[in-house]
Symmetry: C2
Subunit: 236 residues, 2 copies
DNA sequence: CTTAGCTTGTCAGCTGACAAGCAAGGACCC
DNA sequence: GGGTCCTTGCTTGTCAGCTGACAAGCTAAG
């Protein structure tokens, strides 16, 4: 038995598949374990995207990755630790390291539109990963309490930072003073999650691009201090 | 063994607890079975609201209702059939028989505000039942495929009827012609679901009343053909 | 030879389903 | 009205399938 040596946050670059290197058999032990860890994570993400976390079996993860059923436990310690790894790595880290910096300094309306664009790009580029993330977010409602609390905290922070952004916009006149920052942040995050929910629920029928566009149509005027109270109804 | 005799849709009026009758021991067999069915459904709803469907055990349902573990299967046939019963009874039936008629004939903006009010009332009056329903909606993403398809269908219909309502509003001038009915319906349903999600996720912190109010603030102007493009910014 | 990577054997806990059985209700007959 | 017997409501015994965890062991790297 190998001592459970949890994969560090930066051991693995999931999604950045190094392509041909997979076959150029570098048999160094370090390389082997990195490869297998990456494959395990990929399998896990795929399976979670397909059927959620609870219905995903360690056996299934191992087999799809081309290994045995025991490797996941050996690598990550337990199934739940794997979940935490995915949660922190794919969601929290992405939000904090990639999304937030990208929005920094933008006026509120522009920032929210940028967030929409980023989401659309992500869905186009890595739909499986996004599905897996959202799957976990929704499933967290009925998982181990700890996970739900973590996700709840993420959302609290997300609402808070959105509200802060809107409040800043009010302070320097970009956003109408009639807006309630916290309430608006509630609605913003809600719409985002609801769009994701419907997409997961019914990928074939629900047109997520249209829905994201509509979000922009809906929120932009509310966050824009129009020249004189225009609904932008008549740009002709 | 008793032949599995599934409870008919109108055998049981869940929630309409007849109060004192519980103790006024009417030992008629018919009365006994109605009482036990009602109690079983109540327990199931409570437990699903607390921990979701999959983590709810037949043993737990029976025990909480004051019966044995075997009764649920005997009454409903299987755990999954119980789920279907709740789904059709609590959600579909409520929407079609109670909500839709209530909105009929109202202008779009008024109808949507009425839907918000109804939701708020429901949450105040029967929070547990509402939590259970939403729990099932979100959990359906990772349940037996059949359930998910049913829920997806419900949402398709819900979007369609919302879009139709908006389109009708455009036709008779209540709603600005710039609005895209389908896209608006997408966003509307999305916001509703996202508000519910955050409420389930974090009941203590998320202020659902505020969020519902903000939904109104957000959608009402978009669905109202203002006198002359007013954002309703200044009602003073 | 030592250690790391990975596999396989094995086990225990849980859960839903089903069948057999018990006790109380209720209809029918006298 | 009271006794008999069938029916209904409910319980308990039991089982099989699944799954995550752990330990021992094999193979190849170093």
């Amino acid at each position: 038995m190998t001592t459970p040596r949890p994969v560090g946050a930066d051991d693995v670059q999931l999604g950045a598949s190094s392509g041909a290197a997979d076959l150029a058999v570098v048999n160094s032990q370090r390389a082997r374990s990195e490869l297998s860890s990456r494959r395990l994570l990929e399998s896990a993400v795929e399976l979670i995207a397909e059927r959620g976390y609870e219905r995903t079996t360690l056996v299934a993860i191992g087999e799809r990755a081309g290994y045995s059923r025991g490797l996941v436990t050996d690598r990550f310690g337990s199934k739940e630790k794997l979940l935490w790894h995915l949660l922190e790595h794919h969601f929290v880290k992405w939000t904090e390291d990639s999304l937030y910096p990208d929005l920094a300094g933008l006026p509120a309306a522009a920032a929210l539109n940028r967030a929409i664009e980023r989401t659309r790009d992500n869905i186009r580029l890595a739909p499986t990963r996004i599905r897996a993330v959202y799957s976990i977010l929704f499933e967290s409602l009925v998982l181990v309490p700890g996970v739900r609390e973590r996700v709840a905290l993420m959302h609290r922070e997300h609402r808070a930072s959105t509200a802060a952004m809107i409040a800043a916009g009010i302070a320097n006149g970009d956003v109408p003073a009639t807006v309630d920052p916290e309430a608006m942040a509630d609605a913003w995050v809600a719409t985002f999650r609801g769009v994701a929910y419907q997409w997961l629920l019914d990928p074939e029928t629900f047109q997520i691009d249209r829905a994201l566009r509509e979000m922009s149509t809906l929120f932009t005027p509310m966050l824009t201090a129009g020249p004189v109270g225009g609904t932008e109804a008549d740009p002709s």
